[in-house]
């Protein structure tokens, strides 16, 4: 089975005055796994539901392999979906759940059961065919839901935050499994998530949405290293905002001059966006920086460093955290790379460096 190419063209959808989708354009290539990432209310789920047929866009079109399916009812579309909440039919056992779509299509029972068994083996749960949904763990339920969505060999797979109800360990193992299955089946997959780690680790490309519009779509490495806009930069990963000053086409920040990536704002006073791992610290009793807090994370440690009247976050290797204990005086240097700048966020100094709340997920 081969994945279909899915195109979203100028999708618009209003919910009582607020625009959930505001002219979304996105093309998903055949066989690709694309993650729709964004804060809640950015329209990512609405976009997915437009593809599934549960939502009608006010304007725009959904095309699958060049065919307009915008007005096709949900039950006539060729897309399997896995839902955020547990969606298995409580009255049917696992085998009948997986075979539900085949039953709708009046496939004979023996063929149906054979196909269900095949899929249960595919998801690594061959022995649970006779059990009922309430006897399964959350992770197993979502696996079965995945098998059920794949039973009809759809050409598009839609995943609506399928892992968000699961605990951390299961989430990681299941996302690897979804990716493995998706690659081996070559099925076009749209994955909605608010978890940047999930998006970055699974997707071929990540589309960041904001207020119903596409902010940037790129492969995970590009998205992280060269975010197109300050919003993407701060939403994906952690970002420091450090005041700087434009000098020609470069920016002076913390005593260094770095090349600017992307557009220059009109004003000379800017905020420079710097990743914590691009902040280098060396212990130096003469320096004016001081480590305030250190949070150890195993392989790395994140340090909050006071520099005059601003604070920056720095990621250092975990084994350096002893050397850089709170109270240590440090010299701060930035990695020499092009940086993104945005218009200064305020006249007052950003005394507390922004710590995006989606820092740890």
């Amino acid at each position: 089975m081969n994945g279909a190419k899915v195109e979203l063209r100028g999708l618009r959808r209003n919910f009582s005055g607020t625009a959930a989708l505001d002219g979304l354009d996105l093309t998903i290539e055949s066989g690709e796994l694309i993650a729709l990432l964004g804060p809640s209310g950015c329209g990512k789920t609405t976009a997915l539901r437009c593809v599934a047929g549960f939502e009608q866009p006010d304007e725009g079109a959904v095309l699958v392999d060049g065919k307009d399916i915008t007005r096709v009812p949900a039950n006539k579309r060729d897309a399997g979906m896995v839902f955020q909440s547990y969606s298995l039919f409580p009255n049917l056992n696992v085998r009948d759940n997986v075979a539900f779509g085949l039953r709708v299509r009046k496939v004979p029972a023996t063929k149906r059961h054979a196909r269900a068994q095949e899929l249960l083996e595919l998801i690594g749960l061959p022995h649970i065919g006779g059990r009922f949904p309430h006897q399964l763990s959350g992770g197993q339920q979502q696996r079965v839901a995945l098998a059920r969505a794949l039973a009809l060999e759809p050409r598009v797979l839609l995943l609506d935050e399928p892992l968000s109800a699961l605990d951390a360990k299961v989430r990681v193992s299941l996302r690897e499994e979804i990716r493995r299955l998706q690659l081996s089946l070559g099925i076009t997959t749209i994955f909605v998530t608010h978890d940047q780690e999930e998006a970055l680790s699974m997707a071929d490309r990540v589309a960041v949405l904001r207020a119903g519009r596409l902010e940037q779509v790129a492969d995970p490495a590009t998205l992280y290293d060269r975010p197109a806009t300050p919003f993407v930069a701060e939403f994906v990963g952690t970002m420091n905002r450090v005041p700087g000053r434009i000098e020609g086409d470069q920016v002076a920040v913390l005593g260094q001059t770095l090349p600017v990536d992307g557009d220059l704002p009109g004003t000379p006073d800017v905020d420079v966006l710097i990743r914590p791992e691009a902040v280098l610290l060396t212990p130096d009793s003469e320096a004016d920086g001081m480590v305030l807090v250190s949070s150890f994370r195993g392989s790395t440690a994140q340090l909050r460093v006071q520099l005059g009247d601003i604070e920056v976050l720095a990621d250092v290797p975990g084994h350096d955290s002893v050397r850089l204990a709170p109270g240590t005086r440090v010299r701060v240097k930035l990695v020499e790379r092009p940086v993104l700048v945005s218009a200064s966020s305020g006249a007052t100094t950003p005394a507390t460096a922004p710590v995006p709340e989606h820092d740890v997920v």
């Binding site: 039950n75 969606s87 039919f89 009255n91 709708v104 009809l152």
Partner: protein
């Protein structure tokens, strides 16, 4: 009927909250058990005394101490079979109409216009606060005035076309309205227990048409609440007296009342008998609900 609270009759169908664990002789559980027994005894006295009194009255005979004669007479009494069949038939028809009316309406409101939910709830609960006598007075007025104003409308012509002396449609319509609060409550509880939207979308996504998903997904998962709604409706129809009597239809309760004037013992025997039938129905339905719960 007025004594039925919306929650009350549903209670027997929900599993009893058994809290007594295998606690070995601790003070508190024992005290609870004693209290539980006391309350059970009081409730039992309240219900059993009138029942036993009725039963002793029916088995008393002038010559002997014990005779089931009155029960034997039930079946030979004039009009017994006809009125019982009529009531059961009315009950079945009412159940069918009320479920066909409320289930799709409640699904539609839940899925597409949740804002209307309070309106639907009030509409469905309204019959509880309208006294039956007011209700029947209203029906009589409409029936009398109706032909003058509405005779030419398709609605009225349909009513005319399907009317049948032996099977009063008007009673079915009246009972549907009376049953609405109970049916609404049971179905609302059932729908609240399942994630209707997700189940519907999952089934649609797998290609199911609306009829298929209603009969294969929604109804099986609502079995116990559909059963309780049906039971309440049936109990209501089997016990309804005011409307049937005032509209001059010989339903089972009206028949009991009619013969009580001439044959007091038989009428009480019939009451005991109908209570037994009702209990049997309750047992059947609640065990069906329990079976479903253990099965899924």
């Amino acid at each position: 009927m007025a004594a039925l609270t919306p929650e009350g009759p549903v209670a027997p169908l929900t599993p009893p909250a058994v809290a007594s664990g295998p606690v070995g002789g601790a003070g508190r559980p024992r005290r609870i058990r004693v209290w539980r027994g006391a309350i059970l005894a009081i409730a039992a006295i309240y219900f059993l005394v009138p029942l036993i009194a009725s039963f002793t009255f029916t088995v008393k005979a002038p010559e002997q101490d014990f005779s089931l004669d009155a029960y034997g007479q039930i079946f030979s009494a004039e009009g017994f079979g006809r009125s019982l069949l009529l009531s059961v038939g009315l009950g079945v028809a009412t159940i069918a109409v009320v479920l066909l009316l409320t289930l799709p309406a409640m699904l539609a409101v839940r899925l597409s216009i949740p804002k209307l939910k309070p309106v639907l709830e009030i509409l469905c609960t309204l019959p509880l606060v309208v006294p039956p006598i007011t209700f029947v007075a209203g029906i009589t007025t409409v029936l009398r005035l109706g032909p003058d104003y509405l005779a030419s409308t398709p609605f009225y012509q349909t009513i005319f076309a399907i009317q049948d002396e032996n099977f009063p449609i008007v009673l079915v319509l009246a009972y549907v309205i009376l049953a609405l609060p109970f049916v609404y409550r049971s179905l609302d509880a059932g729908l609240g227990a399942i994630d209707v939207r997700t189940l519907v979308e999952a089934a649609r996504n797998l290609g199911a048409s609306w009829p298929h998903l209603i009969f294969r997904v929604i109804v099986p998962n609502l079995r116990s609440s559909l059963a309780s709604a049906s039971f309440l409706t049936l109990a209501l129809v089997l016990g309804e007296f005011t409307i049937a009597s005032l509209l001059n239809f010989q339903t089972f309760p009206v028949w009991i009342y009619t013969i009580s004037g001439s044959q007091a013992q038989v009428s009480v025997a019939v009451s005991v008998f109908s209570l037994l039938i009702t209990w049997l129905l309750l047992l059947v339905l609640s065990s069906a609900g329990a079976r479903q719960r253990s099965g899924s």
